[in-house]
Amino acid sequence: MDGQLAIDVAGLTKTYGTFTAVDNLDLKVKKGEFMGLLGPNGAGKSTTLKSVSGLIRPTSGQILINGIDSQKNHRKALARVGCVIETPEFYRGYTPAELMEYAGRIYGLNKTETAIRARDVLEEVKMWEWRNKPIGEFSKGMRQRVALAQALLPNPEVIILDEPTSGLDPRGMIEIRQTLNSLKKRDRSLLISTHILKEVSEMCGTVTMINHGKVVTTGDVASLIHQSAMTDAGSVEIELRTLKDMTPAFITDLGGCAGVKNTEKMGSREVKVVFSGTDEDQASLVDVVYRYDLRLLGMTEKGADIEKLYMNLTKGEKASVQ
């Protein structure tokens, strides 16, 4: 089973009339992997996730979930999948408890199993108290929580979420992130589209950026962030802060280190280093600080965050960053 793909999308294309919403898109989520799907409004994220979950028919392309073709056998392919696509609604008169019962029966959970799981997931999303109230009276955030609970009900191996925390309060967002993160221990796979970059940086190991229905970049979140921190010349800016004042001799020595292209003193205890060396070279910068006994307070790679990555990749676009 190891190394097998949880989700394998190949050559997915979806056209609406003459408009191509998703254009020959490839997407692979390994088992146990959490992948974030990023992109500006209208990039084709929801269209991709709707195709994967069988809500729309792709114009062309193949979608395998746990190795099963979801277009040929939707039922079997989604047997171990939980989905939340674009804030789904449920019959207004239904209560969360009735919804869980319905979903549980479709998935094939028996009564006891459904009762245990329903309580578990409704407690996780903080909706247990509301289990017998009609969903039609809930706020958007509450309905979103119930939808999440429903997706997690069958203890799914693969989870597909389209902006799952939209409409949630800050505490709710953090709690949902914790809940999803705890699933990592159980080797679950997640494909999540979101505009909240923190959700990607805190949960996802890999990220796929799409725009105009095409993949812009895909890969490991950490290394993509590292790459994005690099300036055009392929170097990064490192800021060093120390407890004691920096001497000119120290600055000179620092400038002489391998990989250092330039140094700029920002204050008596702070220096900016333009650097393009190996990790080893970077570690030796710290050695210099120790040699002068300046007591290192901090060393930060400037601009090394997911927002910079996102902005770089969507340059010239009207990006929507929350």
């Binding site: 789904p88 459904t114 996780e124």
Partner: protein, 317 residues
């Protein structure tokens, strides 16, 4: 993190699970659940049950039940005395029951339109399909599950209606021929099935699923077209007695069912209204073949169901 203890569980109720005093530990709740996907038929019945629950909370169901219960109310309020005269004893029980069923040609179009027209469109309009169709069930079982629920509601309403009519007739006139009642009931249900399937299929093409539009199609448009064809001598000469063939069309099932019981004093049949307007169109439904009619209705219904399924499987949100 997930606080779980016996006391909390004992106090809380979880619908019909409240009798489950089972309380999972964290490990249990987080173990890999092994479960088997139920059969498609099983899943279909789950959808049927969920839809029936929805009906039980809706006005459609209550209104239809109330309408049926209006029949004895009107009878005992003296409405029939006014129409038929005071001396009921001259009436044959079959004719009396047929008169009570006089509104059937309306209701056989109205009830399917009211029950079926919104089942599918509302799933898309209210976005509830985003949840249901992303579950591991085939669109076919979802489609048939909802249809079955709609049929069960109608069977309930029509059973109630025939029961009420049989009861009132036996109290007022005398006992009915059981075989004729059963046959009329079967024609009603199978004719209703054909109209339901047509409404359901057409609604898969619609955004809102207008019950009024679909009702008028069956109650007015189709019979009108039939009469016009019959009134046009050119057509009558070619196909000869087209109206005699009208019995095979589901909108006429209500008329056929009524005549199976007896001759009604008054029939709210669109075919009669129109034939009064158009010269040269005397309509008789006395020479009908109820078994053949039911066969045609069943095939008609099945064909439209398949059309609806074809469309539903391709419908996107």
């Amino acid at each position: 993190m997930i606080g779980r203890n016996k006391q909390a569980n004992a106090g809380g109720t979880f619908n019909d699970y409240s009798d489950t005093d089972y309380s999972a530990t964290d490990e249990e709740a987080h173990r890999s659940t092994e479960y088997q996907l139920p059969s498609s038929v099983n899943q279909m019945l789950t959808v049927t049950k969920a839809t029936l629950k929805l009906f039980s909370k809706s006005y459609t169901f209550i209104t239809l039940t109330a309408l049926v219960l209006l029949i004895p109310l009107l009878v005992y309020a003296g409405l029939l005395d006014f129409v038929l005269g005071d001396d009921m004893s001259v009436y044959d029980p079959g004719d009396y029951a047929a008169t009570l069923l006089g509104a059937l040609p309306v209701f056989i179009a109205l009830i399917p339109a009211a029950v079926m027209s919104k089942l599918i469109p509302s799933e898309f309009r209210d976005r509830t399909a985003y949840l249901s169709l992303a579950l591991p069930q085939s669109r076919a079982s979802f489609f048939f599950g909802k249809f079955l629920a709609g049929m069960l509601v109608q069977i309930f309403v029509f059973t109630l209606a025939y029961g009420v009519i049989a009861l009132v007739t036996s109290l007022e006139i005398g006992s009915l021929d059981g075989g004729a009642v059963l046959l009329a009931f079967a024609i009603t249900i199978i004719g209703g099935f054909a109209i339901s399937a047509t409404v359901y299929a057409l609604s898969t093409f619609m955004k809102k699923g207008s019950a009024l539009l679909l009702f008028l199609l069956f109650y007015m448009v189709i019979p009108a077209v039939m009469i016009l064809i019959d009134a046009n001598t050119v057509f009558s000469d070619i196909i000869g007695g087209f109206i005699d063939n009208a019995q095979y069309l589901p909108p006429i099932a209500g008329d056929v069912a009524t005549f199976t019981l007896g001759t009604p004093y008054e029939l709210m049949s669109p075919v009669y209204f129109y034939s009064m307007l158009v010269e040269n169109s005397g309509i008789t439904l006395f020479n009908y073949n109820s078994v053949l009619d039911m066969g045609v209705y069943a095939v008609w219904g099945a064909a439209f169901l398949l059309l609806g399924l074809y469309r539903f499987e391709r419908r996107e949100m």
